[in-house]
Each structure stands twice: as C-alpha cells, then as structure tokens.
Symmetry: C2
Subunit: 152 residues, 2 copies
DNA sequence: AAGGTATAATTTGATATTAAACTATATGAC
DNA sequence: GTCATATAGTTTAATATCAAATTATACCTT
C-alpha cells in the first residue's frame, strides 16, 4: 500500500457509503410516490407548489435542481393528469405560472403525508443526536469551498 | 406547532440535507466523467470491470444497482465506442461476459484517477474523524431494519 | 426425452434528463 | 423607434431508467 492508497482510502470509502445510503433511502421513499404513479420529479414539482404556492417554471427548475427543458416535460405530464395548470403572466408574457389544481392539491397532500411518514421511519435508524450530526456533516459537504465552484 | 411537527421536523431536515449533499457531490464528481463523454452509469460499468475483471451483465446490474434492461443499453453504447466487448459463455450460452478492451482499460484508468482525486477533494471538507463518523451514520441508514424491506 | 420452471439477456413503451438550438418576449442603449 | 442583449420556455437528439413482455438457454422431474 503506497502513500496515495492511505490518503485515498478513507475519502473513497466515505463517498461510497454516502452514495449507497442516499440511493437506498431514496429507493424506499420513492415507493410512496409510485403508489400513485408519481415520479420523484413529479412529486418534487407538486411539493414545491404545495409549500410555496404558484411558481414559474424557472423557479421550479431551480428548486428541484433540474434543467428548464426537463421541467417543461414534467409539467406537461402533470398537466395531462389535471394535477397542475399553466397560466400566462399578463405583465410579462414570457412567464408561465404553474398552479396546483384541486385534484393536484388533494393528491399531493395525501402523498406528502405518506412520504413524510416513510422518511420518519427511515431516519428512525438513527437517534435524534445522530440525525443532527449527520445533517451537520452533510451540510459541510454540500458547501464546496475553494477550488472550482459552479459559479466563479 | 403540534406533536407531529416536532416529531417530524428533525427527520425531514436530516433527509433533505443528506439528499442535497449526495446530489451536490455527485454533480461535481460526475463532471470528471463527462469530460470524456462518460455518463455516470457508463463509468460505473467500466469501473466494475476494471476492479473486478470480466463480468456478466446480471452481475454488473447488481453491482451498479440498475435493471438488466438498462445494462443492455449501457453496454451497447460502450460497445459502440469500443470500450468493452461481449463474449458469449460457451458453457452456458445464456451468459454474456463483458470485457474491457485495451482502449476501455486505458480510458477507465485515466478517468478513475481523476474521479478519485475529485472525491478526495470533496471529502476534504471534512476531517478524517468526521469522514469516519459520516460513513458510520450512512451505513446505519442504508440497512433498513424491521418493517417492509424489499423482499418480504 | 418431454414438459415445466428458472434464469440471462433483449425488447418495448413510458418517463426522465441534459445540452444545445430555437422562439417569443422584454429591456436597455443609442 | 431600432438594434443588441437577456431571459422564459420549448424543442430536439442522445442517453438513461424501469417494468413488463419476450426470447433463448439451461436444468430438473418424471
């Protein structure tokens, strides 16, 4: 085992565990969504509208970390099921404001409650103190200091 | 704030931070892959072959947590670029063993080194002790105890 | 050996995803 | 007012992804 190995082992090992944990928790939680034929992205859009009120597509894209082209399609699919509706902004006609319909509100309330319950159950593998600690460590990881961040 | 809120807040908050950390680290690390026009899945396949030697498609699917249908396509795309080749197993003709080509070996060696470096740089936001702790917490989360696991 | 069951891989149909090109609209400089 | 630039959204082409149906092969039981 050379110098590089010993410097590299721990970060790679931690990275792998982080990814596995995220994937495995996501896989289980997303079953609550597919029960009502919602994809993770569709859920993300509905949830954003549910908690923030009507939003334009760009704001939704930023919120759920997807491209605007993608949002167009996801909203299309939600609109086909009458869960949301688009409304052209009269002041600036470039904007489309997306609203939850009554059916959409009803569905997301139901599914969100189920997801919330699943998340609580997932996190029950950890004590409250461990959860706080995990949250703090994750937050440090998310913030990339130095080097090449997304925007310079 | 009712009883539910106080029981629910911490798990949801931790969950969100975990997901954000995983997404944001993945986004940065995967840039090392796209520099050579490799997707995350393509990288996963090449890396599995690089470190474990030739594998059949099912084993690759299990290793990178994807469906076998998906693997068929990913291998197709890698084969088009001459990075891997399929070989029919002569003993059991249902199996296709996937091998790295010379070009594939060369590419994955290069890209893996770059990814490794990026991961080390990502994890440098945490001390070694914090990394160990994060790894331990993630491992606990991945293992779902009690309740409804994938198979009943 | 024939029939049933199991397994590896492929195909199909639907949704997701991005990057890049493109359209429509708005805004600022002149 | 006109042109340049910026911004919101759509479209397109490529890859990913899954679930479910299908195909080919193997194995097991009788």
């Amino acid at each position: 085992m050379n110098v590089k190995d010993s410097t590299t082992y721990r970060p790679l090992n931690t990275y792998t565990k982080l990814m596995r944990a995220a994937e495995s928790v996501t896989a289980r939680v997303s079953r609550c969504m597919s029960e009502d034929s919602l994809t993770v992205s569709q859920f993300g859009v509905l949830e954003a509208l549910y908690h923030k009120g009507p939003l334009c597509q760009r704001d939704i894209a930023v919120k759920i970390l997807k491209s605007t082209g993608n949002i167009t399609l996801v909203i299309d699919n939600l609109e086909k099921r009458n869960l949301v509706r688009r409304e052209r902004d009269s002041a600036d006609r470039r904007y489309l404001t997306v609203h939850l319909t009554a059916a959409g509100t009803e569905l997301i309330a139901l599914v969100f409650a189920r997801v919330e319950e699943a998340i609580v159950s997932e996190m029950a593998s950890l004590t409250t103190a461990e959860q706080e600690l995990l949250g703090r460590l994750c937050k440090k990881l998310g913030i990339k200091k130095g080097g090449s961040a997304t925007k310079s």
